[in-house]
Chain length 187, copies 2
Protein backbone atom coordinates (compact mmCIF):
# COMPACT_ATOMS: atom_id res chain seq x y z
CA UNK A 1 0.00 0.00 0.00
CA UNK A 2 1.45 3.44 -0.85
CA UNK A 3 2.35 5.92 1.89
CA UNK A 4 -0.54 8.31 2.50
CA UNK A 5 0.11 11.96 1.72
CA UNK A 6 0.88 14.10 4.74
CA UNK A 7 -1.89 16.53 5.69
CA UNK A 8 -0.09 19.86 6.04
CA UNK A 9 -3.18 21.85 6.94
CA UNK A 10 -6.97 21.58 7.06
CA UNK A 11 -8.76 24.88 6.43
CA UNK A 12 -12.51 25.40 6.77
CA UNK A 13 -13.63 27.01 3.51
CA UNK A 14 -17.39 27.40 3.69
CA UNK A 15 -20.25 26.27 5.85
CA UNK A 16 -24.00 26.00 5.38
CA UNK A 17 -26.75 24.19 7.23
CA UNK A 18 -25.94 20.86 5.56
CA UNK A 19 -22.51 21.24 3.98
CA UNK A 20 -19.15 22.11 5.39
CA UNK A 21 -16.32 22.40 2.86
CA UNK A 22 -12.70 22.12 3.91
CA UNK A 23 -9.42 22.50 2.04
CA UNK A 24 -6.72 19.91 2.55
CA UNK A 25 -3.14 20.95 1.91
CA UNK A 26 -1.31 17.73 1.14
CA UNK A 27 2.25 16.64 0.49
CA UNK A 28 2.41 13.39 -1.44
CA UNK A 29 5.19 10.89 -0.75
CA UNK A 30 6.93 12.00 -3.98
CA UNK A 31 7.14 15.55 -2.61
CA UNK A 32 4.37 17.04 -4.77
CA UNK A 33 2.14 19.43 -2.82
CA UNK A 34 -1.48 19.94 -3.81
CA UNK A 35 -4.61 21.50 -2.32
CA UNK A 36 -7.76 19.35 -2.37
CA UNK A 37 -11.27 20.34 -1.35
CA UNK A 38 -13.71 17.95 0.25
CA UNK A 39 -17.00 17.94 2.09
CA UNK A 40 -16.27 17.61 5.79
CA UNK A 41 -17.91 14.75 7.60
CA UNK A 42 -20.59 15.47 10.12
CA UNK A 43 -23.01 13.08 11.73
CA UNK A 44 -22.87 9.34 12.09
CA UNK A 45 -23.23 7.98 8.57
CA UNK A 46 -26.34 6.67 6.85
CA UNK A 47 -28.22 3.47 6.14
CA UNK A 48 -29.96 2.03 3.08
CA UNK A 49 -32.31 -0.93 3.47
CA UNK A 50 -33.06 -3.83 1.13
CA UNK A 51 -36.24 -5.11 2.82
CA UNK A 52 -37.59 -8.41 1.54
CA UNK A 53 -41.16 -9.36 2.44
CA UNK A 54 -42.65 -12.86 2.60
CA UNK A 55 -43.67 -12.63 -1.09
CA UNK A 56 -40.05 -11.89 -2.10
CA UNK A 57 -40.79 -8.24 -2.92
CA UNK A 58 -38.34 -5.52 -2.03
CA UNK A 59 -39.80 -2.34 -0.58
CA UNK A 60 -39.13 0.73 -2.71
CA UNK A 61 -40.21 4.29 -2.06
CA UNK A 62 -40.94 7.07 -4.51
CA UNK A 63 -39.69 10.36 -3.12
CA UNK A 64 -38.73 13.84 -4.22
CA UNK A 65 -34.96 14.18 -4.72
CA UNK A 66 -33.90 17.83 -4.52
CA UNK A 67 -30.55 17.19 -6.25
CA UNK A 68 -32.39 16.12 -9.40
CA UNK A 69 -35.57 18.17 -8.78
CA UNK A 70 -37.58 15.09 -9.65
CA UNK A 71 -39.31 12.10 -8.13
CA UNK A 72 -37.19 8.97 -8.03
CA UNK A 73 -37.62 5.35 -7.03
CA UNK A 74 -35.14 4.33 -4.38
CA UNK A 75 -34.56 2.18 -1.32
CA UNK A 76 -35.56 3.37 2.15
CA UNK A 77 -32.61 5.25 3.61
CA UNK A 78 -31.66 7.90 6.09
CA UNK A 79 -29.13 9.26 8.52
CA UNK A 80 -28.04 7.39 11.63
CA UNK A 81 -29.03 9.30 14.75
CA UNK A 82 -26.63 9.85 17.64
CA UNK A 83 -26.48 6.74 19.80
CA UNK A 84 -28.04 4.46 17.19
CA UNK A 85 -26.34 1.43 15.66
CA UNK A 86 -26.65 1.08 11.87
CA UNK A 87 -29.13 -1.80 12.34
CA UNK A 88 -31.27 0.28 14.72
CA UNK A 89 -31.26 3.16 12.26
CA UNK A 90 -32.24 0.81 9.44
CA UNK A 91 -35.15 -0.57 11.44
CA UNK A 92 -36.32 2.95 12.33
CA UNK A 93 -36.09 4.24 8.75
CA UNK A 94 -37.96 1.19 7.48
CA UNK A 95 -40.77 1.86 9.94
CA UNK A 96 -40.85 5.57 9.08
CA UNK A 97 -40.65 5.27 5.32
CA UNK A 98 -42.35 1.95 4.56
CA UNK A 99 -44.36 0.98 7.62
CA UNK A 100 -42.52 -2.25 8.43
CA UNK A 101 -40.18 -3.34 11.15
CA UNK A 102 -37.73 -6.21 10.62
CA UNK A 103 -36.87 -9.08 12.96
CA UNK A 104 -33.82 -10.14 10.96
CA UNK A 105 -31.17 -7.76 9.69
CA UNK A 106 -27.62 -8.10 8.39
CA UNK A 107 -25.08 -5.48 7.34
CA UNK A 108 -23.90 -6.29 3.80
CA UNK A 109 -21.36 -3.56 3.06
CA UNK A 110 -20.36 -0.03 3.91
CA UNK A 111 -20.44 1.94 0.65
CA UNK A 112 -18.69 5.21 -0.09
CA UNK A 113 -20.36 7.74 -2.37
CA UNK A 114 -17.79 9.91 -4.12
CA UNK A 115 -14.64 9.14 -2.12
CA UNK A 116 -12.47 11.68 -3.94
CA UNK A 117 -14.32 14.57 -2.34
CA UNK A 118 -16.61 13.19 0.37
CA UNK A 119 -16.20 10.66 3.17
CA UNK A 120 -19.89 9.91 3.60
CA UNK A 121 -20.64 6.26 4.29
CA UNK A 122 -23.81 4.32 3.50
CA UNK A 123 -24.39 1.08 5.39
CA UNK A 124 -26.33 -1.36 3.21
CA UNK A 125 -28.59 -3.56 5.29
CA UNK A 126 -30.65 -6.57 4.27
CA UNK A 127 -33.88 -6.80 6.32
CA UNK A 128 -36.19 -9.81 6.46
CA UNK A 129 -38.95 -11.24 8.60
CA UNK A 130 -40.93 -8.00 8.33
CA UNK A 131 -43.94 -7.01 10.45
CA UNK A 132 -46.28 -4.01 10.13
CA UNK A 133 -45.12 -1.10 12.28
CA UNK A 134 -45.36 2.58 11.47
CA UNK A 135 -43.25 5.39 12.94
CA UNK A 136 -43.67 9.05 12.03
CA UNK A 137 -40.89 10.48 9.87
CA UNK A 138 -40.24 14.12 8.98
CA UNK A 139 -41.11 13.95 5.27
CA UNK A 140 -42.90 16.98 3.82
CA UNK A 141 -45.41 14.65 2.14
CA UNK A 142 -46.30 10.95 2.46
CA UNK A 143 -43.91 8.67 0.56
CA UNK A 144 -45.41 6.32 -2.00
CA UNK A 145 -44.53 2.69 -1.29
CA UNK A 146 -43.70 0.55 -4.34
CA UNK A 147 -43.18 -3.18 -3.70
CA UNK A 148 -41.05 -4.70 -6.48
CA UNK A 149 -40.43 -8.40 -7.21
CA UNK A 150 -36.86 -9.17 -6.20
CA UNK A 151 -36.61 -11.69 -9.06
CA UNK A 152 -37.13 -8.82 -11.45
CA UNK A 153 -34.55 -6.26 -10.36
CA UNK A 154 -32.99 -6.10 -13.83
CA UNK A 155 -36.13 -4.36 -15.09
CA UNK A 156 -35.91 -1.89 -12.24
CA UNK A 157 -32.26 -1.12 -12.87
CA UNK A 158 -32.77 -0.05 -16.48
CA UNK A 159 -35.40 2.53 -15.45
CA UNK A 160 -34.33 6.17 -15.71
CA UNK A 161 -36.07 6.96 -12.41
CA UNK A 162 -33.99 4.33 -10.57
CA UNK A 163 -30.49 5.71 -10.97
CA UNK A 164 -28.80 5.89 -7.58
CA UNK A 165 -25.51 4.01 -7.83
CA UNK A 166 -25.59 2.98 -4.18
CA UNK A 167 -29.11 1.55 -4.51
CA UNK A 168 -28.14 -0.47 -7.60
CA UNK A 169 -25.07 -1.74 -5.76
CA UNK A 170 -27.26 -2.60 -2.74
CA UNK A 171 -29.64 -4.74 -4.79
CA UNK A 172 -26.83 -6.71 -6.42
CA UNK A 173 -25.05 -7.12 -3.07
CA UNK A 174 -28.27 -8.47 -1.55
CA UNK A 175 -28.78 -10.87 -4.42
CA UNK A 176 -25.24 -12.16 -4.12
CA UNK A 177 -25.52 -12.54 -0.32
CA UNK A 178 -28.80 -14.44 -0.64
CA UNK A 179 -27.37 -16.74 -3.30
CA UNK A 180 -24.46 -17.55 -0.99
CA UNK A 181 -26.84 -18.20 1.88
CA UNK A 182 -28.91 -20.52 -0.25
CA UNK A 183 -25.78 -22.40 -1.43
CA UNK A 184 -24.73 -22.87 2.17
CA UNK A 185 -28.19 -24.15 3.07
CA UNK A 186 -28.12 -26.59 0.15
CA UNK A 187 -24.67 -27.91 1.02
CA UNK B 1 -46.12 10.34 -11.20
CA UNK B 2 -46.66 12.91 -8.43
CA UNK B 3 -46.67 16.64 -9.19
CA UNK B 4 -43.22 18.09 -8.56
CA UNK B 5 -42.95 20.67 -5.80
CA UNK B 6 -42.86 24.25 -6.99
CA UNK B 7 -39.49 25.96 -6.63
CA UNK B 8 -40.33 29.24 -4.88
CA UNK B 9 -36.76 30.50 -4.75
CA UNK B 10 -33.17 29.35 -5.33
CA UNK B 11 -30.64 31.10 -3.09
CA UNK B 12 -26.87 30.73 -3.39
CA UNK B 13 -25.64 29.85 0.11
CA UNK B 14 -21.90 29.28 -0.15
CA UNK B 15 -19.28 28.88 -2.79
CA UNK B 16 -15.78 27.41 -2.86
CA UNK B 17 -13.45 26.33 -5.64
CA UNK B 18 -15.26 22.99 -6.08
CA UNK B 19 -18.56 23.29 -4.29
CA UNK B 20 -21.46 25.66 -4.68
CA UNK B 21 -24.30 25.18 -2.20
CA UNK B 22 -27.78 26.50 -2.91
CA UNK B 23 -30.99 26.59 -0.89
CA UNK B 24 -34.23 25.58 -2.56
CA UNK B 25 -37.45 26.96 -1.13
CA UNK B 26 -40.11 24.48 -2.18
CA UNK B 27 -43.88 24.20 -1.96
CA UNK B 28 -45.04 20.60 -2.22
CA UNK B 29 -48.33 19.79 -3.96
CA UNK B 30 -49.96 19.28 -0.55
CA UNK B 31 -49.11 22.89 0.37
CA UNK B 32 -46.25 22.10 2.75
CA UNK B 33 -43.31 24.47 2.32
CA UNK B 34 -39.78 23.36 3.10
CA UNK B 35 -36.26 24.62 2.51
CA UNK B 36 -33.77 22.08 1.07
CA UNK B 37 -30.07 22.51 0.51
CA UNK B 38 -28.21 20.91 -2.37
CA UNK B 39 -24.89 21.08 -4.16
CA UNK B 40 -25.37 23.11 -7.32
CA UNK B 41 -24.40 21.48 -10.56
CA UNK B 42 -21.44 22.77 -12.44
CA UNK B 43 -19.59 21.18 -15.31
CA UNK B 44 -20.69 18.48 -17.72
CA UNK B 45 -20.98 15.34 -15.65
CA UNK B 46 -18.49 12.53 -15.22
CA UNK B 47 -17.56 9.13 -16.60
CA UNK B 48 -16.51 5.82 -15.07
CA UNK B 49 -15.00 3.10 -17.24
CA UNK B 50 -15.23 -0.68 -17.02
CA UNK B 51 -12.38 -1.55 -19.41
CA UNK B 52 -12.03 -5.22 -20.32
CA UNK B 53 -8.77 -6.38 -21.90
CA UNK B 54 -8.23 -9.41 -24.15
CA UNK B 55 -7.51 -11.59 -21.08
CA UNK B 56 -10.87 -10.64 -19.52
CA UNK B 57 -9.30 -8.44 -16.85
CA UNK B 58 -10.84 -5.16 -15.83
CA UNK B 59 -8.48 -2.25 -15.34
CA UNK B 60 -8.51 -0.89 -11.78
CA UNK B 61 -6.50 1.99 -10.41
CA UNK B 62 -5.27 2.58 -6.87
CA UNK B 63 -5.50 6.27 -6.05
CA UNK B 64 -5.62 8.61 -3.11
CA UNK B 65 -9.19 9.58 -2.19
CA UNK B 66 -9.24 12.82 -0.21
CA UNK B 67 -12.78 12.24 1.13
CA UNK B 68 -11.54 9.13 2.95
CA UNK B 69 -7.89 10.26 3.34
CA UNK B 70 -6.84 6.82 2.14
CA UNK B 71 -5.84 4.89 -0.95
CA UNK B 72 -8.68 3.06 -2.63
CA UNK B 73 -9.13 0.69 -5.52
CA UNK B 74 -11.56 2.02 -8.07
CA UNK B 75 -12.42 2.22 -11.74
CA UNK B 76 -10.86 4.86 -14.01
CA UNK B 77 -13.09 7.94 -13.89
CA UNK B 78 -13.09 11.67 -14.32
CA UNK B 79 -14.97 14.77 -15.36
CA UNK B 80 -16.26 15.34 -18.87
CA UNK B 81 -14.54 18.36 -20.43
CA UNK B 82 -16.46 21.05 -22.29
CA UNK B 83 -17.23 19.86 -25.83
CA UNK B 84 -16.55 16.18 -25.09
CA UNK B 85 -19.11 13.41 -25.41
CA UNK B 86 -19.21 10.90 -22.54
CA UNK B 87 -17.54 8.28 -24.75
CA UNK B 88 -14.75 10.69 -25.71
CA UNK B 89 -14.20 11.56 -22.06
CA UNK B 90 -14.12 7.85 -21.16
CA UNK B 91 -11.52 7.15 -23.81
CA UNK B 92 -9.39 10.09 -22.66
CA UNK B 93 -9.57 9.14 -18.97
CA UNK B 94 -8.68 5.55 -19.80
CA UNK B 95 -5.59 6.73 -21.68
CA UNK B 96 -4.61 9.13 -18.88
CA UNK B 97 -5.21 6.81 -15.94
CA UNK B 98 -4.51 3.35 -17.34
CA UNK B 99 -2.58 3.80 -20.58
CA UNK B 100 -5.12 2.20 -22.90
CA UNK B 101 -7.42 3.51 -25.56
CA UNK B 102 -10.56 1.59 -26.55
CA UNK B 103 -11.95 0.93 -30.02
CA UNK B 104 -15.32 -0.24 -28.72
CA UNK B 105 -17.36 1.58 -26.10
CA UNK B 106 -20.96 1.51 -24.93
CA UNK B 107 -22.82 3.63 -22.39
CA UNK B 108 -24.45 1.30 -19.85
CA UNK B 109 -26.25 3.68 -17.49
CA UNK B 110 -26.21 7.18 -16.10
CA UNK B 111 -25.89 6.87 -12.31
CA UNK B 112 -26.78 9.45 -9.71
CA UNK B 113 -24.70 9.70 -6.54
CA UNK B 114 -26.77 11.09 -3.67
CA UNK B 115 -29.83 12.45 -5.50
CA UNK B 116 -31.39 13.97 -2.38
CA UNK B 117 -28.71 16.65 -2.22
CA UNK B 118 -26.66 16.49 -5.41
CA UNK B 119 -27.50 16.22 -9.10
CA UNK B 120 -24.10 14.91 -10.20
CA UNK B 121 -24.28 12.25 -12.87
CA UNK B 122 -21.80 9.46 -13.60
CA UNK B 123 -21.94 7.84 -17.02
CA UNK B 124 -20.88 4.20 -16.77
CA UNK B 125 -19.11 3.05 -19.91
CA UNK B 126 -18.00 -0.42 -20.95
CA UNK B 127 -14.79 -0.28 -23.02
CA UNK B 128 -13.34 -3.16 -25.02
CA UNK B 129 -10.88 -3.79 -27.84
CA UNK B 130 -8.13 -1.93 -25.95
CA UNK B 131 -4.81 -0.75 -27.38
CA UNK B 132 -1.82 0.80 -25.60
CA UNK B 133 -1.99 4.60 -25.62
CA UNK B 134 -0.87 6.97 -22.88
CA UNK B 135 -2.04 10.54 -22.33
CA UNK B 136 -0.73 12.77 -19.54
CA UNK B 137 -3.23 13.41 -16.73
CA UNK B 138 -2.97 15.90 -13.89
CA UNK B 139 -2.50 13.46 -11.03
CA UNK B 140 -0.10 14.54 -8.26
CA UNK B 141 1.55 11.10 -8.42
CA UNK B 142 1.48 8.16 -10.83
CA UNK B 143 -1.58 5.92 -10.39
CA UNK B 144 -0.98 2.26 -9.74
CA UNK B 145 -2.70 0.04 -12.30
CA UNK B 146 -4.30 -3.13 -10.95
CA UNK B 147 -5.72 -5.56 -13.54
CA UNK B 148 -8.39 -7.75 -11.95
CA UNK B 149 -10.03 -10.89 -13.40
CA UNK B 150 -13.58 -10.00 -14.36
CA UNK B 151 -14.72 -13.52 -13.43
CA UNK B 152 -13.66 -12.75 -9.88
CA UNK B 153 -15.40 -9.46 -9.09
CA UNK B 154 -17.13 -10.91 -6.03
CA UNK B 155 -13.75 -11.08 -4.28
CA UNK B 156 -13.10 -7.46 -5.21
CA UNK B 157 -16.45 -6.27 -3.95
CA UNK B 158 -15.98 -7.62 -0.41
CA UNK B 159 -12.68 -5.72 -0.02
CA UNK B 160 -12.78 -2.73 2.33
CA UNK B 161 -10.63 -0.70 -0.09
CA UNK B 162 -13.17 -1.17 -2.89
CA UNK B 163 -16.21 0.61 -1.49
CA UNK B 164 -17.51 3.11 -4.03
CA UNK B 165 -21.20 2.35 -4.62
CA UNK B 166 -21.09 3.60 -8.21
CA UNK B 167 -18.10 1.37 -9.03
CA UNK B 168 -19.81 -1.70 -7.56
CA UNK B 169 -22.95 -0.86 -9.54
CA UNK B 170 -20.82 -0.39 -12.68
CA UNK B 171 -19.26 -3.85 -12.40
CA UNK B 172 -22.61 -5.58 -11.95
CA UNK B 173 -24.15 -3.53 -14.79
CA UNK B 174 -21.28 -4.57 -17.06
CA UNK B 175 -21.64 -8.20 -16.09
CA UNK B 176 -25.37 -8.11 -16.80
CA UNK B 177 -24.88 -6.33 -20.15
CA UNK B 178 -22.24 -8.87 -21.23
CA UNK B 179 -24.43 -11.81 -20.23
CA UNK B 180 -27.26 -10.36 -22.33
CA UNK B 181 -24.91 -9.89 -25.26
CA UNK B 182 -23.70 -13.45 -24.99
CA UNK B 183 -27.30 -14.75 -24.81
CA UNK B 184 -28.13 -12.80 -27.96
CA UNK B 185 -25.07 -14.20 -29.69
CA UNK B 186 -26.01 -17.74 -28.67
CA UNK B 187 -29.61 -17.37 -29.91
Amino acid sequence: MPTKPEILKVTPVSESRLFQVEALDLRFSNGVERRFERLALRGHGAVMVVALDADNNIQLIREYAAGLHDYVLTLPKGLIDAGETPLEAANRELQEEVGFGARQMVLLKNLSSAPNYMGHSMNVILARDLYPSKLEGDEPEPLERVPWPFDNIEELIVRDDFSEGRAIAALYLARHWLSQESETADA
